[in-house]
Assembly symmetry: D2
């Protein structure tokens, strides 16, 4: 039987950052199920030296999953502080170019590599009381568009999942999901009427990391149950 | 081992329209490789009765691949004729709601179903001497957005592949690919620097038709090597 | 004092179609206030000969406002009929290329001209029970993108207003506006919390028709109070 | 005669930042021509205290034009340094929330205000060797979307001009414009085939700052001669 999506992941070295947060746990599990050699690093990456160290320690990296997250502040625009802004950018934005430049040279040399950024649909659609978070996710998205186009000729594919309403402990902890108001919001705002299961999201990451398809570059794929179309 | 993308296609009935044109042949092949029961119908669908007949004859349809295409006219805006416009819309636009309304009731009743429209990135980015074709592809895209959002609560997922620069005989016949000017255009305009192999595109259709991921709805996914980001 | 937006409209011949429907009346009024010579034609344009006749009778046309509308059906996807589809496309889509090709040659010859299509944000964001209407508006938008790019080198600018929630008798008649449910929907779904006044929309059309700015081409500008961002 | 675009600017206090860079000079000139009371501040705003000081010193601000710019580095992705990244974000991104939170309370209190961010189309379309700059512009755009939606109910309108290929000394200095290769690039990549005159861009800012139209919120308007559609 011919190649199927994810076949090529067997034996590939997949580096997942912040592996105990956001989509980290399910990503590690699902990539491992595909036979990948998962290098899961649990550290937050605000320290400027860490991304390069991480990549150096990892050695060969065929796939980088940039899973960067901090809880989203729900501050009104006029009350956002410099500290909030800096905290969010230091964790979600600044590490991204550090990771990418650490990992790109070996990918370019091999003329093969995948980078998947676990991003947010708030980069595409405005949402109140989310200005800091949205700005950070918007930086990631535009970065991916630029980098994706630049490195495509080297057969390295860089893309981003612009997700929202995916079940994960960082953004939708059990106590939030238990609220009637939250369930009503899901029914009203999300055409799919539910949170995505973590595994559905991880399988989109598998698709984007799959060596069977090398033509999707520089995209932010909305994955939000129809909240963004 | 846990479910992988496309596992659920085994035994599923996949209806592919215009199966000898555009992406039809590779779609039939790749879905069959995934164990699907492929119903390939080669007819163009301009006849208003055909879509309903086709679906009636097919019986159970788990996945509809709306593969609708005619060669793209390269007419200047001021020289487009009514005949050109009508021909393109009659083949690519008008059959779509007929197919969808024929197939939706059974999908809604089963609370499961996938519709994938093989569309075009020209719906998203303007291109000269393509006005008729782009308009038709734009109608498809907006239709998919509206339908995707409407039927998502029934657990039916409708999406579109907004492709360009994918190798297929309808749009990039061998004599075009042989031209030096064409290869230079690829290098200049398409960051990936090449045409996609048909199989890469078909695997994106497999992803969108896969029962393992049911949260992507109403989307037009650009698949154009970075020509659209 | 230097040129202001709309100064150049004085004495310009502005053709407005379907001038008693949709945005027609306010457009005629506001362009006249800017000193334009308004040619207002009230006829629906489903007849294939009419657009060319209209333009021929108008003579010189500096600005074409393609104001095409029929009431939006609220039919569920599976219940849309061929008759509904044909009616909507015959009034909103098919006349557009006929108008454009009738008016373009004189604009290209003069190396000056503006075409503004009064379109819809439903081309950009999926909305349930609006599939026919959205598809038609999507065709308009993609057409404008293609044509806008093609004729830009001739110094003709073609753009579209992707509006929603603008007060007009075709889509928001007084009896709808009087409903409490409608006002609650506005508050919930439209960040601006209200319908736009017709004049606000007409001033955007003035901007797009203004000879002071000739660099905006092939765009669909969302004008929907934040419903689309 | 009824109100025209920009009429309401007479006597309005318009704060323009970095007024000698990027679009600053033409903005000051064109807003003054419309009778506005222009407060032009020439300083770069990397110092975290400056934005608040600036707004405090300005007193009443009816319109904020966030004109933030540094020359765009043309560094390859793998060679971007932390210093480059920090420099660009410190000048173009970090000052934005500081300016907005300084100016918003008075606007919300008066239930009237306009904020226009002079941004970039590179936030929307990937461009090689522009990753740092694009990421910064992407942060601005997503911030504007979020803030625009949040403050719309207070009748404050926040939007962004996503420009490219507009004549200005920061990005297209005379020595660049003189290059044959640059003129060829314009002809090939920009449908309009030229740079926009600074005044055309400033008039779009006038439109977005005009009190005659208060329904456009949270938008990034592409202004790039068709380079983005």
């Amino acid at each position: 039987m011919a190649a199927r999506i994810g076949d090529g992941l067997a034996g590939r070295r997949v580096l997942i950052t912040q592996s105990e947060d956001f989509m980290g746990p399910v990503l590690a599990e699902v990539f491992a199920e595909h036979g990948a050699d998962v290098i899961a690093d649990a550290r937050a990456l605000a320290d400027p030296q860490l991304p390069a160290e991480l990549v150096r320690a990892a050695g060969r990296v065929d796939v980088l999953i940039a899973n960067l997250a901090v809880p989203a502040p729900a501050t009104r625009v006029a009350e956002v502080t410099d500290a909030e802004w800096r905290h969010v950018f230091a964790h979600m934005v600044d590490p991204l170019p550090r990771l990418v430049r650490a990992v790109l040279p070996q990918m370019i040399e091999r003329r093969a590599g995948k980078i998947v950024v676990m991003g947010s649909a708030t980069a595409l659609r405005g949402l109140k009381r989310t200005s800091t978070y949205s700005a950070a996710r918007g930086a990631q998205l535009a970065y991916v568009r630029a980098v994706g186009v630049e490195v495509a000729p080297h057969n390295v594919q860089v893309n981003l999942i612009a997700q929202n309403f995916v079940d994960n402990p960082t953004y939708f902890p059990p106590e939030v999901q238990a609220l009637a108001a939250f369930r009503e919001r899901l029914a009203r705002e999300v055409p799919a009427g539910r949170l995505a299961a973590p595994r559905e999201d991880a399988l989109l990451a598998v698709f984007l990391a799959s060596s069977e398809v090398n033509f999707l570059v520089g995209q932010g794929i909305p994955f939000a149950g129809g909240w963004v179309t």
